[in-house]
């Protein structure tokens, strides 16, 4: 039995009938057409699907679309404002914090949460803050540098 849901995604209203079992990540990617968040594991380990739900980073592969009913979702597509990159996006670019780019949308959303919780984290705090997101390309060092650099710019 399908259920009607209404979700605000990146500031825009979306309303659809969905199956209760539809995962939020599939709703975002296949119904709303936002393919920025990715699927990497389906077990909430890799974090490629991370989006913000009411301002909190969540792994959208392990929640249902119906659980997002009436709530606010921010995906990577909604991060840049009026064509201006978010400082984290800019920092990821400057610091070469991505290679294949597959983990990047989730990594940036988690980093966003990390800096919201702790605007001037130490290197160890950054590393622990990112432990729910896997990257197979970078060895994380440039990602850590990017988060540091974004934090430093925000604090400057």
């Amino acid at each position: 039995m399908k259920r009607q849901i209404s979700v605000t995604i990146n500031g825009k209203p979306y309303s659809h009938e969905v199956e209760p079992r539809l995962l939020l990540i599939h709703y975002l990617r296949e119904v709303a057409g936002l393919t920025g968040p990715h699927i990497g594991c389906e077990t909430s380990i890799c974090g490629a699907c991370t989006v913000m739900l009411d301002g909190k980073a969540v792994k959208s592969c392990t929640m249902f679309a119906v659980q997002a009913d009436g709530r606010n979702v921010l995906t990577i597509e909604g991060l840049a404002q009026n064509g201006t990159l978010d400082p984290l996006q800019e920092a990821f670019w400057n610091e070469h914090a991505l290679q294949c780019g597959y983990c990047t949308p989730g990594m940036i959303m988690t980093a966003k949460q990390l800096l919201a919780d702790n605007p001037s984290p130490t290197e160890q705090e950054i590393r622990h803050g990112l432990e729910g997101n896997l990257c197979r390309c970078t060895g994380y060092q440039h990602i850590v540098n990017a988060v540091k650099s974004a934090a430093a710019k925000a604090g400057a």
Partner: protein, 777 residues
């Protein structure tokens, strides 16, 4: 016409941020699963839950009646299609017929048995669960040494000894080396099975156009052209009617350097159902059915003089093949043999490889592909020899290095090392860690009962794969450069980058050669209908081979541009400077755009010159390149818990000339992370029945951000004489250099307990047990 021309700053060697990043950081790139084609159906594959079993029956009746189901295919439907190909050719190689879907038996967990196609991803999965397969489980074998022991269950009934091949290679006089030896050290060393784990799993979208009889295959692959040739062969369709497109590829590491059953299956199905079909691998499928790497059991024997002079190295290598050969499976351990001399001068080697069939997924090329295994063995053996001789491991290495004046250096394995100064990066790394002081500190630590280790690896590798003679399908690479009528530049490369950043590196090369703005250069790859035939991206070849092709194509275009410049300037003495053609006498110049317009409008042409500005070059490398370097790792081991803390990770890698240091750093870091993963965390574990116990990311320990040390990476630059750019390749250096440095460091830390060797991964449990046993293990 302008009269002043300034030479722009060169881009070669600059930390330029990447051209490909804007789409990747904004979520607007298109990966395979982002593709949507009208009428697209979804496939879900029914796979074997058994390591070995006979298929007694398959019933698809219930599944076929489920909502949305369009078709179901089983082994009988694809019986007459070609097998999944292997390109490795060794004398006497046993190649089981690898059908796209299992016939009457399954050989590993994950073996595809049936494909369900439905209108929706969820419905396809529902129906796949309703396919009933009646199996009769059979005994399985998953350990390669057990597999080739007498009495093991046969993986393939036709070859009861489970031997896929035997291979022998010898160089120099190994018998004499061992007769001359004053000391011989022996060790069994394993390189465990690893799961490549690209963050994006594999996936395919196939579209059949009935009218044109053409098929477009979108696949997350590293080798679009080879895939086209080989899938056309499987299907028996003309190659030019098959188009392969690689969308954005979310990592490969060798795991997408292959031709998989699913790629041909989807192509076949699209043609059968007259609808486009998509299949995207789940992570569990990725772990059970995409190739694994490593899987070695190695028995090494190193012969030496008491003064530390190494004389010869013997190796008995048992390679876990898995149940089937994938594209290069059997060739990978032969690369290990080629690497056996390492950076050392000794000229005598002997190697025997046994390929062992097991009820596991195939092993094949995973970052480093045979070379990390070899380096791990060699660098462990050097440390074992140092321990035996009570010599400092740094001194022992320096004593045995090939010397700078000996290049090109012919090795006992038939290679010619291109260029090198092996002591240079090593001395730099030793100075950086202050090695002498570290050893003193270690002595103090030991007195205080603390376990501190210093580990060294001085590695060499074989890159820029490679001369065509050495690769089954050719080892060249191609590039086409097109200067468009507006002066914009398009590069078509036969390489297929998937994170390595060649869209940027290549734009840097073009910017320097033509004097154009990097932003005016577009690098196109991964579409066989657009790009001339190419080989692909693997074996640290993208820039060394593909970049060289580009460089040569650019030289051809520059000559042509000069002709148009000379014509426009009415001069016979012109040269290209900063995107302009300048008359050496008068200083007058014409712009790049002026020349492009002249070439395309063709109102007037230089003598013997065609209109247009397009050049293609197929670059055949005369040799491999041989990067080298030194990694030094300082560890502290917790004697109460067995936990390993990496205090310092210093690496100095010589990868030849560096085009973009920012990208190179990224390659080194990522490579080290994969080497460290092998050394400390990762292990693909099968139980005796063939179940993959590490079948999800919940169980397979991939390094996370907090597991990684800060990597202190720097370089020396010894240009390669093999190609016009002087580059050697960097994709695999970090992985190859890392694992022996880590393990040597931990063994060094545990030396007070008499520990001589530990097999990877160095889990705290393993280390703690060794401490408890006082090294008696």
């Amino acid at each position: 016409m302008a009269t002043t021309v300034t030479r722009p700053e060169t881009k070669f060697g600059k930390r330029v941020r990447r051209q490909e990043d804007p789409r990747l950081i904004t979520g607007t790139a298109t990966y395979l699963d982002d593709l949507k084609v009208p009428g697209m159906h979804h496939a879900c594959i029914v796979r074997s839950p058994h390591g070995a079993a006979r298929i007694k029956s398959i019933s698809t009746t219930a599944a076929a009646a489920m909502p949305g189901v369009a078709a179901i295919f089983t082994g009988a439907d694809i019986k007459n299609l070609g097998p999944v190909p292997t390109a490795a050719s060794l004398p006497g190689l046993r190649v089981p017929h690898h059908h796209l879907l299992a016939q009457d038996r399954v050989y590993f967990v994950g073996h595809p048995v049936a494909v369900v196609v439905a209108t929706d991803r969820y419905l396809a999965r529902d129906a796949a669960d309703a396919v009933e397969v009646d199996y009769e489980p059979l005994p399985a074998v998953t350990d390669p040494e057990k597999a080739i022991a007498p009495g093991a269950p046969p993986v393939h009934p036709e070859w009861p000894d489970n031997v896929a091949f035997n291979f022998h290679q010898e160089g120099g006089d190994i018998a004499q080396a061992f007769r001359d030896a004053e000391v011989v050290v022996r060790q069994r060393i394993t390189s465990q099975r690893l799961i490549p784990t690209a963050m994006e799993t594999r996936g395919v979208v196939a579209e059949w156009r009935a009218g044109e009889k053409s098929l477009t295959l979108h696949s997350s692959t590293q080798i679009p052209h080879l895939l086209r040739t080989l899938v056309a062969g499987i299907l028996g369709m003309p190659e030019h009617l098959l188009r392969v497109i690689t969308p954005e590829v979310g990592g490969g590491f060798g795991s997408k350097l292959n031709v998989y059953a699913e790629e041909a299956l989807m192509a076949f199905i699209a043609r059968q159902i007259h609808h486009p079909v998509k299949w995207v691998e789940s992570r569990r499928e990725n772990f059970t059915t995409t190739i694994h790497g490593r899987g070695h059991v190695d028995y090494f024997e190193l012969a030496a003089k008491r003064d530390g002079t190494m004389l010869g190295l013997k190796l008995k290598l048992i390679q876990d093949i898995g149940a089937y050969h994938q594209l290069l499976t059997a060739a990978i351990p032969t690369l290990s043999v080629l690497m056996m001399p390492g950076l050392y001068r000794f000229k005598n080697i002997s190697a025997d490889i046994v390929g062992a069939f097991t009820n596991c997924v195939a092993t094949d090329a995973y970052r480093g592909a045979g070379r990390p295994e070899a380096t791990h063995g060699i660098e462990r053996m050097v440390d074992l020899l140092a321990a035996e001789l009570k010599m400092d491991p740094a001194e022992l290495r320096l004593k045995n290095f090939v010397q700078p004046e000996e290049f090109p250096f012919p090795t006992a394995t038939g290679l010619a090392y291109d260029s090198g100064d092996y002591a240079k990066p090593f001395r730099k790394a030793l100075a950086q860690v202050d090695y002498t002081k570290l050893r003193q500190e270690q002595e103090e630590a030991r007195k205080a009962g603390r376990l501190m280790g210093i580990g060294i690896s001085t590695y060499g590798e074989i890159c820029a794969m490679g001369p065509s003679i050495a690769l089954p399908a050719g080892g060249w690479e191609s590039a086409t450069v097109k200067i468009e009528p507006t002066g914009k530049v398009t590069v078509l490369t036969g390489a297929s980058p998937h994170g390595q950043g060649e869209e940027t590196t290549f734009a840097q090369i073009v910017a320097d050669e033509l004097g154009v703005d990097m932003n005016d250069v577009l690098v196109v790859h991964g579409d066989t209908a657009v790009v001339q035939y190419g080989i692909g991206t693997f074996g640290s070849r993208g820039t060394a081979v593909g970049g060289s092709a580009l460089y040569c194509a650019l030289q051809t275009l520059k000559e042509k541009l000069n002709k148009f410049g000379a014509m426009l300037l009415k001069s016979d003495n012109v040269s290209l400077i900063g995107g302009q053609c300048v008359d050496a006498k008068t200083g007058k110049s014409v712009t790049f755009a002026d020349m492009a317009v002249a070439a395309y409008h063709a109102k007037q042409l230089p003598p013997d010159t065609q209109p247009g500005l397009v050049a293609t070059h197929f670059w055949e490398p005369p040799n491999f390149t041989f990067p080298f370097g030194a990694h030094i790792v300082v560890t502290d081991v917790d004697r109460d818990t067995g936990e390993i803390a990496i205090r310092r990770y210093v690496c100095v890698d010589d990868i030849g000339k560096i085009i973009n240091p920012l990208i190179v750093d990224g390659q080194i870091h990522g490579g080290v992370a994969q080497g460290l993963g092998q050394a400390l965390y990762e292990n693909a574990v099968y139980d005796d029945n063939g179940q993959l116990m590490t079948g999800e990311l919940t169980d397979y320990a991939l390094p996370k951000a907090h597991h990684m040390p800060y990597i202190e990476s720097s370089h020396t630059e010894t240009p390669s004489p093999v190609n016009p750019l002087g580059v050697k390749g960097v994709g695999e250096a970090g992985t190859i250099g890392c694992s022996p440095a880590v393990v040597n460091s931990v063994v060094d830390a545990l030396a007070p307990f008499g520990v001589k060797h530990i097999d990877m991964p160095l889990t705290p449990e393993k280390v703690w047990n060794l401490i408890q046993q006082g090294g008696r293990a």
